[in-house]
């Protein structure tokens, strides 16, 4: 199961577990604010080789219609995908 963003953030004492266990894959914050540049995929050039998807440390690149797309909520803008993309279908754009 892929961890996903929840709407509810546990805050009260009663919501904090008194044991060491809690639901797996419980995300409450995004990582989007970490990046200063964002990778953008040129779907015309993308050949669907999936090397960017394979090498992404955050796993934010996923398959879509035989090509790939990026989950910008969790991309940190490291740029590994750009280096791994042989057809040159990824470019980095400055975040505004």
């Amino acid at each position: 199961m892929k961890p996903y963003l929840r709407e509810h953030i546990p805050q009260a004492f009663s919501e904090i577990p008194d044991t060491t266990s809690y639901e797996a894959g419980y995300l409450v914050s995004k990582n989007a604010g970490w990046r200063s540049v964002r990778p953008v995929i040129d779907t015309d050039r993308c050949v669907g080789c999936l090397q960017c998807y394979l090498h992404c440390p955050d796993g934010v690149i996923f398959r879509k219609d035989g090509k790939v797309a990026i989950d910008y909520d969790f991309c940190k803008g490291c740029g590994i995908c750009l280096k791994e993309c042989r057809p040159g279908a990824i470019r980095m754009e400055a975040e505004k």
Binding site: M1, K2, P3, L5, I9, P10, I16, T20, Y22, E23, A24, G25, Y26, L27, V28, S29, K30, N31, W34, R35, C49, L50, Q51, Y53, L54, H55, C56, P57, D58, G59, F62, R63, F74, K76, G77, C78, G79, I80, L82, K83, E84
Partner: protein
């Protein structure tokens, strides 16, 4: 046929974590869990991956995962595996992800014990060559010459004085059913090794080089490239140990000069030409041993 980018499980099991951008260790954990699947229970001792994966309420593992004591990764894996077996569970993997310090310094006793008992566990060491989580202190897997906060580079001492411990051969010396080395620069090789290990009963150990942009002083987009370069220049090698035999799984045609690999990293920037020559010599010595003791090596042709 072994798994590849196309046939790999599309589910993500390590997602939304707070690792530095371009983190090599998180890539190793992510890929290993994609191979092993949801029915794997991950054990993480103190280290980067537990620090970035469990920031309550941000819990980044999609499978069952637990933090162990620093020294107890392997012993907790033993317990988890025994517990699952006692409950009659089948088709599961008990997998541990420990850093280089948690494996070669602090956790080596528990690991050695687990191998001795031959418990059915998979132990993966993601090696970023220092205690990165606490601010880059030297571990026994820090290579010669590397600058860390406890082995600073100054006028008299130029970084770490001691060579990197060969954890892979130490583990193999136990007579373990399966041990392997890997690199995040050669992910298909790593995937094949995790897949192979998941099918073997008994203790399995995989040691993967995972560069750390923060500690090594490289750009965030260079981690995979550097992990490839360290194999190409012969300072790391991809091998397996099985049935008492060492086998190289990747043979570089000709070893590249380690100077290019060393000079691009801030932790080696202070090295003099003589230091680099020392590193070159120790590499050549190691490769002489590899050629002698490892199988499946095609002799390099003389130019």
């Amino acid at each position: 046929m072994s798994l590849n980018a196309r046939t790999l499980n599309e589910e993500e099991f390590f997602y939304g974590h707070k690792a530095c951008a371009g983190c090599g260790g998180s890539l190793a954990v992510r890929i290993a869990l994609k191979v092993l699947g949801e029915r794997s229970i991950a054990v993480l001792p103190a280290g980067c991956m537990s620090a970035v994966g469990f920031n309550f309420p941000q819990l980044c593992f999609g499978n069952n995962a637990i933090i162990s004591t620093f020294a107890g990764t392997a012993s907790m894996l033993t317990g988890i595996e025994a517990g699952l077996r006692a409950r009659g569970e089948t088709n599961y993997h008990a997998v541990g992800f420990a850093g280089d310090g948690g494996t070669a310094d602090i956790g080596i006793q528990a690991l050695s014990g687990a191998i001795d008992r031959n418990d059915d566990i998979l132990y993966i060491c993601y090696d970023n060559e220092a205690y990165m989580n606490t601010g880059i202190q030297k571990s026994s897997l820090t290579p010669f010459g590397a600058r860390t906060t406890t082995t600073p580079a100054g006028k008299n001492i130029r970084g770490n004085l001691r060579p990197k411990k060969n954890m892979f051969e130490i583990v193999a010396a136990h007579g373990i059913p399966y041990a392997a080395t890997a690199s995040i620069g050669y992910l298909n090789d790593f995937i094949a090794k995790v897949e192979k290990a998941s099918k073997i009963r008994g203790t399995k150990y995989i040691h993967i080089i995972a560069p750390c942009p923060t500690g090594w002083g490289i750009a965030t987009d260079e981690t995979v490239e550097v992990a490839r370069q360290v194999v190409d220049c012969g300072l790391w090698y991809l091998a397996e140990y099985e049935n008492g035999n060492f086998t190289l799984t990747h043979q570089p045609k000709q070893l590249a000069d380690p100077a290019d690999y060393l000079k691009r990293q801030a932790r080696f920037r202070h090295l003099t030409e003589e230091d680099i020559e020392l590193i070159r010599q120790s590499r050549d010595l190691k490769w002489e041993q590899i050629r002698k003791n490892y199988k499946n090596i095609q002799e390099e042709k003389q130019p």
